[in-house]
């Protein structure tokens, strides 16, 4: 079993196996990654950094592609506007 790490998604603690991407943490937390201009919830589509649908805010930085970034302990992840 890999070690578990804990990060925050929209203010709530989420524990995930070490090494998974932030996109996985969003799915585990049941959170949308971002909202479209018209307000629709969006999440990972291509899973390989091309479609930009999985963008989230990480530690205050907007528009990070969650499918390309590994989770780190204590990370503060938020659904992008």
């Amino acid at each position: 079993m890999p070690n578990e790490i804990t990060l925050r998604v929209n203010g709530a603690d989420v524990s995930v196996p070490e090494g998974v991407t932030v996109a996985v943490a969003m799915v585990m937390a049941g959170a949308a990654c971002r909202a479209s201009v018209s307000g629709e919830p969006r999440g990972p589509l291509c899973g390989m950094g091309i479609c930009f649908e999985c963008r989230v805010s990480i530690n205050g930085r907007a528009h990070c592609r969650s499918c390309q970034i590994a989770c780190e302990p204590g990370m503060d992840v938020r659904t992008d506007e």
Binding site: V37, R55, R61, A62, H63, D80, E81
Partner: protein
């Protein structure tokens, strides 16, 4: 088949042509608008959509302020997608020298009924916390507006159509003048008056007109809501934008309703190709980052260029073209065409219908340019 002549045939469906069509149609004239592409596909789509009062000259002030008031009056009728937002402009002063210019501008605008507010270092930082520390201050011009020009042009064309104007898109024009617009397909459209509203391409149809293409670049970022609240323009812009010979860049950023940030600006003469110039783009973005370091970590989603129609004296050409009594010009608006489109339309329609204009028309008459040519010879 030849139809009865229109009262006015306007060549160019950019925002200037659209505004002229709207004004003339609402005054009861039979109007046609032709464009080789689409509504607002040239400088109208490329520009920022900053409705701004400027004071390079009394005539520039008069036309920009007159036009801004016309936009204000139109506001209630504009559809939501025009994104009309009176966010105001802040002219940012980096040092004491530019702060002196802030005070001069404040006096000038105040004396002419334009509300402004002088900001010191702290007040500026409070209004725009993402500007770098140590700015001297700025001038907040409260009634300046941001809008989305292509939709504004479409609105004006549609309103003109409600008043009987006819629109022909995808129509390439080969020649104009002598009460006729000759199309590339050899058909022609007859008009008692022909208006050249071709923007930077006006010279293709009226070669004697002294207009130069002045290329600009813009970048739009992803959405970063709350990062920027006003249109910010560096006062150093007054130094760089006035250079008529060399390429220049200036810090000029605009908040869009989506939270995106439009980043400008650049000015180049003699660059006829529409491709992005990486060196100018680099300089433009470096300049923007000097003022707002936070821009450097943002994602840009699109970069494009456009061509301003620049005249030698920085004023547009509005009125009859000497030598052909049927030909009128409405072009040469350089970077102010969105702002001054509505005033241009009023002044053009006043001349065509013989009405009294609300501001003196002399500085914008095309005859001034041909007189300058005559004197130079």
């Amino acid at each position: 088949m030849r139809s009865a002549p229109y009262d006015v045939v306007i060549v160019g469906a950019g925002i200037v042509g659209a505004a002229c069509a709207d004004e003339l149609a609402r005054r009861g004239m039979r109007v046609a608008v032709v464009d080789r592409e689409m509504i607002g596909g040239g400088a109208t789509a490329a520009g920022m959509g900053h409705v701004v009062v400027m004071d390079d000259s009394e005539a520039q002030f008069a036309l920009t302020r007159y036009s801004q008031r016309l936009w204000q009056a139109l506001r209630a009728e504009l559809p939501d997608d025009v994104e009309y937002d009176q966010c105001g402009t802040i002219w940012v002063a980096a040092d004491d020298e530019e702060m002196a210019e802030v005070r001069r501008k404040h006096e000038y605008y105040g004396g002419r009924g334009v509300p402004t507010q002088v900001l010191d270092t702290r007040e500026l930082k409070t209004l725009e916390p993402n500007l770098r520390d140590g700015m001297a201050g700025g001038l907040l011009v409260l009634e300046d507006v941001v809008l989305y020009p292509p939709c504004a042009a479409r609105f004006l064309i549609e309103r003109a159509q409600k008043h009987g104007a006819e629109l022909r898109l995808g129509v390439s024009v080969a020649k104009i003048g002598r009460r006729e617009v000759l199309l590339s397909n050899e058909n022609s459209i007859a008009g008692k008056i022909i208006v050249n509203a071709g923007g930077a391409w006006a010279t293709a149809l009226t070669p004697e007109v002294e207009i130069k293409k002045r290329k600009g670049h813009l970048v739009i970022t992803d959405r970063y809501r709350g990062f920027l609240s006003h249109q910010l323009v560096e006062l150093g812009y007054l130094k760089s934008a006035h250079s008529v010979t060399s390429d220049s860049v200036a810090f000029n950023v605009q908040p869009r309703r989506t939270g995106q940030i439009l980043i400008g600006s650049s000015r180049q003469y003699g660059a006829e190709h529409k491709e992005v110039d990486q060196e100018i783009l680099r300089r433009m973005l470096m300049r923007a980052q000097e003022y707002m370091p936070g821009l450097s970590s943002m994602s840009a989603v699109r970069t494009w260029t456009g061509f301003r129609a620049a005249t030698a004296d920085k004023l547009p050409l509005i009125g009859p073209w000497p030598g052909d009594e049927s030909l009128f010009l409405a072009t040469g608006h350089e970077g102010l065409g969105i702002t001054t489109s509505l005033g241009t339309a009023k002044l053009l329609a006043d001349q065509i219908t013989g009405s009294n204009p609300e501001i003196p028309i002399g500085p914008y008459l095309p005859a001034r340019a041909s007189e300058e040519c005559a004197h130079a010879e």
